[in-house]
Point group: C2
Chain length 134, copies 2
DNA sequence: ACTTGCCTTGACGTCCGCGTAAAGGTCTAC
DNA sequence: GTAGACCTTTACGCGGACGTCAAGGCAAGT
């Protein structure tokens, strides 16, 4: 299979595949005419990369999975190095989610406060206060 | 106040302030010698930008807040356009968090499965199966 | 022979928020 | 008058994952 077909079957572009090759993730055999030649294993390899990319993994983080597949394992995550990446990613996801939730709370609070202050300005002057003492 | 002092008081760099100016967010008066001249209002403006940046807002998203401040309002979020940005950001945060949580679940599932399969290979061959029928 | 469609390499462009020189002007202190 | 600490503009670099030409080679159909 040539690069165009591999790209189409993997749901990506030839540019992306050449980029993977330039990063050492997808070495290609060459046909007599200089064209890159791929097989079904290469397709699985690209699919592995794409899946991880969809999860938000950086390209470098997919390397252990790729090397695991190329080592002959049936799955990219059959090797300890891949599992280590999974675990590290889980930690990163947890802290990122936590951080985003904190930001969400802060922004929500800012919005609520600003809406209150806006409502206090417009209606009929800042009359209807809620404080009793004063 | 000159750019160095403003940068220090705002906890940022002169490069950043010049960048804000280039984006039209922080116009500066000039002293006779060509130096940029800032006042306390400019400091508040920069602090507003930095706060939003810390929340993960893009620079463009801070523009309504900046314009609100420059319009004389006591707070950057005292204007409807700013509130709209808050609301949009809340939506983005929600969907992003949701998406990351979904990824977290997927990655966690992959890890669990891969760990199980690894455990089934190593110990004493794939003997201790859990399936009863077969 | 010619077109069409695939392939090749090389290299610059994109987005964002700056960092980091480089080359020079200005003000203050000594 | 000179060192030092400011300031000025201009402009290239970075990281990540490619997009997008440009110029040309190769294979197949008509």
């Amino acid at each position: 299979m040539r690069i165009g077909e591999l790209a189409e079957r993997a749901g990506t572009t030839t540019r992306t595949l050449r980029y993977y090759e330039s990063r050492g993730l997808l070495p290609a055999r060459r046909a007599g005419n200089g064209y890159r030649a791929y097989d079904e294993d290469d397709l699985r390899l690209v699919q592995q990369i794409r899946t991880l990319q969809d999860f938000g993994f950086e390209l470098e983080e997919t390397r252990p999975f790729v090397e695991c597949l190329r080592a002959g394992h049936p799955a990219g995550d059959a090797c300890p190095a891949s599992l280590a990446v999974y675990r590290r990613k889980l930690g990163e996801l947890d802290s990122l989610i936590e951080q985003l939730q904190a930001v969400r709370v802060q922004v929500g609070a800012q919005l609520a406060r600003a809406e209150l202050e806006a409502a206090a300005e417009l209606p009929g002057g800042p009359e209807p206060r809620c404080e009793l003492g004063g």
